[in-house]
Amino acid sequence: MATNALFQNGAPQSQPNWREALPTLFALGYVAIVYFLLHSIDRSMLLFPLWSSILFPMFVISPFIILGLKIDGRLKVLLIAIIGLVLMPILGLEDTFYLELITQIAIFAAMAIGLNVVVGFAGLLDLGYVAFFAVGAYLWGVFTSNANTIVQISGAQAAPELFWLFLFLGVIAAAITGILLGLPVLRLRGDYLAIVTLGFGEIIRILVSNLSNISSNRRTPINITNGAQGLPGIVGPPLPDFLVEGVANLTAALGIPATNVRALTYQLFYYVLVLGVCAIAALVAARLDNSPIGRAWTAIREDEVAAQAMGIPKVRMKLLAFAMGASFAGAMGVIFAAKNTFVSPESFSFIQSIFILAIVIVGGMGSIRGVILGAVIVTLLNLQVLKNFSLLINSLKNIDWVIPIINFPIRDWPQQLEPARYERFVFGLLLIIMMIFRPSGVLPAKRRQLELQAAMGKEEIPEAEIIADVETIKPEDLLGNQPKEQS
């Protein structure tokens, strides 16, 4: 009865309603199918690496698909929240590798959003961005590590409870570093600035790997960063017991065998934390972009001299961009140190800066949504797809598989060419290809795309418009006032 009534009432409008509901159904179907498939594969399968590196990226990009579909705004938010806060954690509890991956993605996404403020909004190429990340990481690391540093000896260690304060301090410290770097170098032109920031990043790395003794007496060394060995035993914030119990209950309810519930809780905690920071970063960046500050950055990026002539305080705006960008990296640095429990200078090398730059380039300079998608693509490529290809090749070698058609026995695939070890090759190629074919990124910011097209002379003015322009010019216009004088 009820269904009948519903049908009769809804019948006249059912056709358009049905059409409007299609994207929603598609989104739901997509997420459900991908999630179900991802659930059903397990590590014992031969082709697990292949399936996992196809299905997991498909799952992670589902929020972007939802954002691109014609769905009611509130429904979009709801769906994405369900994916991010319900489906992903459950999947992560079952296989913590996925949780680790998504946390890494969020860390890099937040940093890329920060770099995007510098590169995408203000147009300042920063090749030493990882230095600010290092500032945050070492700030928390030095004060809580159990290494034999001056902090440890003098007993000035920070209590784990101070994590939240240090998160804030990390933001401040990185922002100040950004201003200190920016003050002298911002007069420089774009490409010089890039090289100087690169040099600055290297200076920070060399400093942290050498500040293991600053005393002139070798018998009483003053150790600050523990040098190249890095800082082990960094702690995270204490978690309230009810959280651990909650996770224990959850795993029990889902029937997941959990051996170390506390570690699992920490993983889940960091996931939620970085997701939150990432969301705040995205929000702040989006608000900035649409604010007078953001417009000033756009103006500086497009024409510095003209912007100055319009009264925009160039140096102050550039410094603000540097400080804003740096502060995101500083916050992520603190979280990274706590999450990894270990930091060493190797985590802050030049390739890391390029990695974050690649995220911004691939995603689309200036586009926040694009940059997050870029973080998904580049991080998954680096941490999952390349590694899984190595695993796949190894497991195929074990069963002595022969590639059909070209008749190539996989056993002959040389050991030296493990895909996981060639990330520079892949990123280098990625950067070149992006620059040549799509310099504005996968999800470009409209304005940036126009700028690039205009600069490269690809701006296409429709022919009709040109003709119209020509037609509106009358012979009288060209002759000036002469006809009038004649008459």
Binding site: V119, G123, L125, L127, P184, V185, L188, R189, G190, D191, Y192, A194, I195, V196, L198, G199, F200, E202, I203, I206, L207, S209, N210, N213, I214, S215, S216, N217, R218, V305, A306, F350, I351, I354, L357, I361, P414, Q416, L417, Y422, E423, R424, F425, F427, G428, L429, L430, L431, I432, M435, I436, P439, E451, L452, A455, M456, G457
Partner: protein, 395 residues
């Protein structure tokens, strides 16, 4: 009326006189200029070293990190090490100068920092290794004249790296001509990363090696020591590096200043649009610039390999940055400046490598910072470099 006999006399110059003029202008003058630069760079760094040694020998002025252990007399150490320091500085300085030329030439014509040049340099080092290994496999390394070995190594590296640089320009930079400056720079970073791993993969497949030690011990000539003065001696390798670098610098000077192509390159670097109106093939000139710069980078790679006797696919980055710093120091876009900058930077590096170990609070780990510090300081206080001209920003 008086002008006529002058022209007549100049056209009727004897061939010997013409040869003399040519020698004077294209060989003697650049050589003297290079020697002058060596003198300036060496002199200023010696002075710096002596002053630092003198000032810090007993008193550290309350700065603890500058304190030297009491048993060491820093001034005596500086005086004792000075000749070797200078020799070391000249050798590495010439290598930097040759690399810096590649950066500066490309910057001159395209106003673009060729970030991948450091990797072209690295490929040169690897090619030098390959040539030596192949010669050794053919049992020719010890039987051939050492001069032939050197010429072969440098020649092959120049050909391969020149070609490589041309290909890179064609594939990764040419489609981006006219784009905002950052676009080709990012592409160049991509090329640099790509080449690093490409060479690593290639050598892993080819020989299953990562470290590529030059078999210089197989050629006795390389290791023969020459005594320059009492207590100061060096190997023939050092001399080979210095002489080949000077030959290349003089050759480049001739190429740029005396040939028609060189004239074309100079014209393009001054004003691309006008040069093309004058009938100069701008694209060809750019390609030739990349080829010459790449060839020099490759040769520098071989020289660097001879000096350090070990190359890896990752050696390009730091020397590349130092050479870029050298180019900026001398005034980027300025060929003479790159030579001076390279020598100065090499001397500075030798200075820091010689002095840093005496400070317990510092140590050699910091020796790479100086290049970046110099870069930042130059850009802050004299962005046009030592020999560069001031260019106003165009609106």
């Amino acid at each position: 009326m008086t002008a006529v006999p002058n022209i007549a006399s100049s056209t009727q110059r004897s061939p010997l006189e013409a040869l003399g003029n040519w020698l004077l202008q294209y060989i003697l003058r650049p050589v003297l200029q290079i020697l002058l630069f060596v003198f300036i760079a060496g002199g200023s760094i010696s002075l710096l070293a002596l002053v630092v040694g003198f000032v810090l020998q007993t008193d550290w002025h309350g700065i603890d990190i500058l304190r030297v252990p009491a048993r060491i007399n820093l001034f005596e150490q500086v005086v004792r090490q000075l000749p070797n320091m200078l020799l070391d500085g000249i050798t590495i300085g010439f290598v930097y100068a040759v690399i810096a030329l590649g950066y500066t030439m490309v910057y001159g014509v395209l106003k673009f920092i060729n970030f991948a040049h450091s990797e072209i340099f690295m490929v040169g080092g690897v090619v030098g290794y390959e040539v030596m290994i192949r010669l050794r496999a053919a049992d020719m390394l010890s039987s051939l004249s050492p001069l032939v070995v050197i010429v072969l190594m440098i020649g092959v590296a120049m050909v391969i790296c020149g070609t490589l640089a041309t290909v890179v320009e064609r594939v990764a930079y040419k489609p981006l001509r006219g784009a905002p400056r950052l676009v080709p720079l990012i592409s160049a970073i991509g090329v640099s990363f790509f080449l690093t791993d490409f060479v690593r993969g290639f050598q892993a497949l080819n020989r299953n090696v990562f470290n590529m030690p030059y078999p210089t011990d197989q050629v006795t000539f390389f290791n023969e020591r020459i005594v320059l003065a009492q207590g100061v001696s060096t190997t023939n390798t050092t001399l080979i590096i210095i002489v080949s670098a000077i030959v290349m610098l003089v050759g480049l000077n001739y190429f740029v200043n005396a040939t028609k192509i060189g004239k074309g390159i100079r014209a393009v670097s001054q004003d691309q649009a006008t040069a093309s109106l004058m009938g100069i093939n701008v694209n060809l000139m750019i390609t030739i610039t990349f080829m010459v710069g790449g060839a020099l980078g490759g040769a520098a790679g071989v020289l660097y390999g001879l000096k350090t006797t070990n190359v890896t696919p990752y050696i390009g980055f730091i020397p590349g940055l130092k050479a870029f710093t050298a180019a900026v120091l001398g005034g980027i876009g300025n060929i003479t400046g790159a030579m001076l900058g390279g020598l100065l930077l090499g001397m500075l590096e030798a200075f820091f490598s010689a002095l840093l170990p005496y400070f317990p609070a510092l140590g050699l780990g910091y020796s790479d910072i100086f290049a970046f510090a110099v870069l930042i300081l130059v850009l802050l206080f004299r962005p046009t470099g030592l020999l560069g001209k001031k260019v106003d920003e165009k609106v």
